[in-house]
Symmetry: C2
Subunit: 185 residues, 2 copies
DNA sequence: AAAAACATTAAATTTTTTCTTAACATAATT
DNA sequence: AATTATGTTAAGAAAAAATTTAATGTTTTT
């Protein structure tokens, strides 16, 4: 057959893939991963599965690097280990559904944000109340404590909202409001 | 008056503030800022305004550090410059409405993600179509090109959704679906 | 217009992070 | 059970990022 045509087509296809790989890779900083982990994910996106040696080969990096990158990607649910019988190498697949990645990444992060801040606010509020309810403390200090109390109390509105946002993403309720495929005009 | 009581109250208030400052600071990595910028924001959150020298003093860091941190925070709209007449020092205020910070940060980021990836996909698709519509190319290669085309074409569903999510946050439409204050049970 | 007050840029240093090589641990095959 | 293939941890090297000091630029005041 026409091998030279094929070679040309392969090169062109590589080029096309590389454009997408670069774009994914460059925007993966949003997900808090290193450029090399971003690059690895984007590379895996075009394969059905890869093992550590193939990754090392493809990105020309060391195996421990691949091992740590792939672990990081597993933590944010963007890569899954697949049990592949026959070979004793571990194989991994990239999550190809971006909705899934979006959900698991942001839910995880926002949960942490809510939990951490709500906890701190709860403790701080106890102390602030004690100050502004204490008659022996000067009015100036008491007013300041009161002002701080009100500010952090008010911020709870945001954290509670973020909590509900997370829940509606997890339950996929959000797609009722904002469907994956928008209705026709 | 009772100064010793006041001293104690001040210390207690500092302690309360510090808990909240630490929590904000620790979760600010989500916003892609360095720990010191996170710390600066959290500190400013409890003040109505600060100038560079006050920041330097408070965090015991150099002025150029404060200058770069504050610039980074301005970029993501979490700090605003205020024109303060009388003093020739520039003064800055922290955005205290977390909804506002959420909106401007994520909209900015998601816009970038959508734009970058949609652009790359558009270009890649042109090349992939050329391959799989070319009869002189072997079926194996053409099928692969077709498969890749379909995968990236399908990912556009996600990017368009993300675009609509961003728009509904900007327009505040999202609060119709998910009110800031939830309705009573 | 000169001097002073401030902010920013540049260069150099320190710290942190990432990456690699080498050693180790684990599990599978013979 | 010994050997081999594979993955991970540890330690050291390289690269990147953050921070500081020093220099420069810019604006305001006198």
């Amino acid at each position: 057959m026409n091998e030279s045509k094929d070679e040309h087509a392969i090169e062109k296809m590589e080029n096309a893939k590389n454009q997408v790989i670069s774009a994914i890779s460059e925007t993966m900083d949003l997900y808090g991963v290193t450029p090399s982990a971003g690059n690895l994910y984007a590379t895996m996106y075009f394969k059905d599965q890869m093992n550590l040696d193939e990754m090392r080969e493809e990105l020309s990096m060391s195996k421990p690097s691949m091992s740590t990158s792939v672990r990081k990607l597993q933590e944010i649910d963007m890569v899954k280990k697949t049990f592949q019988r026959g070979s004793r190498k571990h194989t991994y697949v990239a999550e190809k559904d971006f909705f899934h990645s979006f959900m698991s990444f942001y839910c995880q992060m926002w949960d942490r944000e809510v939990k951490m801040n709500m906890e701190a606010i709860k403790h701080a509020e106890v102390e602030l109340v004690e100050i502004f309810e204490d008659d022996t403390v000067s009015n100036e200090i008491r007013d300041e404590a009161k002002a701080h109390y009100e500010m952090i109390e008010n911020s709870k509105v945001y954290y509670r909202w973020l909590e509900r946002l997370t829940a509606s993403i997890r339950s996929e309720e959000i797609f009722e409001f904002l469907p994956k495929n928008p209705p026709e005009e």
